[in-house]
Symmetry: C2
Subunit: 321 residues, 2 copies
Amino acid sequence: MIQKLMDEIRRKNAPVVVGLDPNLSFVPQHLQAQARDKVMSCAAYKGEDEDTLALRAAAEAVWEFNRAIVDAVYDLVPAVKPQIAMYEQFGLPGLEAYDRTVRYCREKGLIIIGDVKRGDIGSTSASYAKAHIGRIGIEGREIPVFDVDFATVNPYLGSDGIQPFVDVCNECDKGIFVLVKTSNPSSGEFQDILTQDGTPMYELVGRKVREWGEASMDGRYSNVGAVVGATWPEQGERLRKLMPNTFILAPGYGAQGASARDLSMFFDEAGEGAIVNSSRGIIAAWTKDAYSEYGAEGFAQAARAAAIDMIEDLRQAIADR
Amino acid sequence: MIQKLMDEIRRKNAPVVVGLDPNLSFVPQHLQAQARDKVMSCAAYKGEDEDTLALRAAAEAVWEFNRAIVDAVYDLVPAVKPQIAMYEQFGLPGLEAYDRTVRYCREKGLIIIGDVKRGDIGSTSASYAKAHIGRIGIEGREIPVFDVDFATVNPYLGSDGIQPFVDVCNECDKGIFVLVKTSNPSSGEFQDILTQDGTPMYELVGRKVREWGEASMDGRYSNVGAVVGATWPEQGERLRKLMPNTFILAPGYGAQGASARDLSMFFDEAGEGAIVNSSRGIIAAWTKDAYSEYGAEGFAQAARAAAIDMIEDLRQAIADR
């Protein structure tokens, strides 16, 4: 699957993934109102309590928002990364919106990175792996469930929590990105702790990711990738060298403060081997001064403009190295 | 919320939580067949594809299984711990079964520990916290979503991934259990790594859990608890001392190999401060030699017998210290 992602990045000349993290505050009021009207007039929901209807309306607004964003960017970028927490917060209707979003992105030919950050003991990780990137066996049928192309995975439980995901990568030609050095301000609290020989914890995790990845190579890179925050350029450069066959998913560009220059060292000598995520910077562009000309009605076109600017910014930074 | 859990443990004299992790292989064939018939004859599902119907049937079987188990044990134990992965693997119908299970357990007066192991960067953790233990704000309404009493949380991202959960604990009188030392065989890979001053990583996490917990005290213990695998008695004893106000959720009894004796040091001098989980050991008791007399039809009574045995075993081990 990593080869497919690389092919799509090359084809679109855009190492960019659009994070579909639709906080309600990014969804224009007119979309929310339309969604509410639609839900309220839906015969199937008649008699449901107010709370359930409000969750349904929020989820419907999120879905319509996503659809418009996807329509506006699918020809520009190879991949999207829905953050499942933003859907889970609206309960079952929210997860239905997640599922619809995934299906729609697939129809549009996009590669889908489910940002689920799952991870548990072995047998439980196996269930998560089946749920998100694999198939669940029921009475001889093998059924795809949420069926995204990549899932993000938390390494805190060690190899037996990761192995079931690697197995599913191989069985179903899918991929994972293991959290190595996350983009958030306090990521260093545990990840940067120096171990007895002076190696920081994130490097130990990086070494394991490289090792796990050897069991699922797909061309030059492995289906077992790593999440390395764009906000940590120095660590990114070290990890790039430490994990030469590990594809990097780098969140943190834009809203979290990282620049394209910070990111240029995440790529290999061919300018490949990494993909950079932006969520708010693209999907909420209409709320930013730089794209305010588009207004709330033009939110999707603002996202398109922001995606074009980000792609150009990254191309330039890679070329300028 | 931790006070409420302690009160219920005291009232039932049972520091035991039943893990509702209904792998389909634990669900007797007759229940699966009934569920399939029910789904197939349901007018609302007419015209749905085979895969969706199979997921619905599996989810329905899981729900009926849980209901019978809960009916058989709710008077014995203070709490249940549904493992969300086991529901997520059946997609949206599975998560509906999770939701139904949670509601039913609440009706029965049980405290519910959602074993979700979520954790992300700050703003995303806030969404997870709202989804699982808090409320989501939509147009001035504050709506409970999955609404369990405790959630398990992964600490790998550090304080800013945990703080939103602690805030919700305080706002909604709920609790969390942070993964400190997990029960699985490879948990030591990162958790036992010695840092420069010789402290293992899990102890650093334990210290942080203690610190985070100070902001949410509820009687002697904090609403911010810790997961410490029963399979690691030595580490459990150290952590008990290191985190004197941290309530411990201990998985690993029974199926994963830990004995009540291994666990006795997880409790404080009053025999409190910890709760022990068993999942397969109780809910799949009917498949074990020791309870085979109950047969598949008696799966719920087998679970009851196994719960009684486990409670007695732990009471004895605590008394014998």
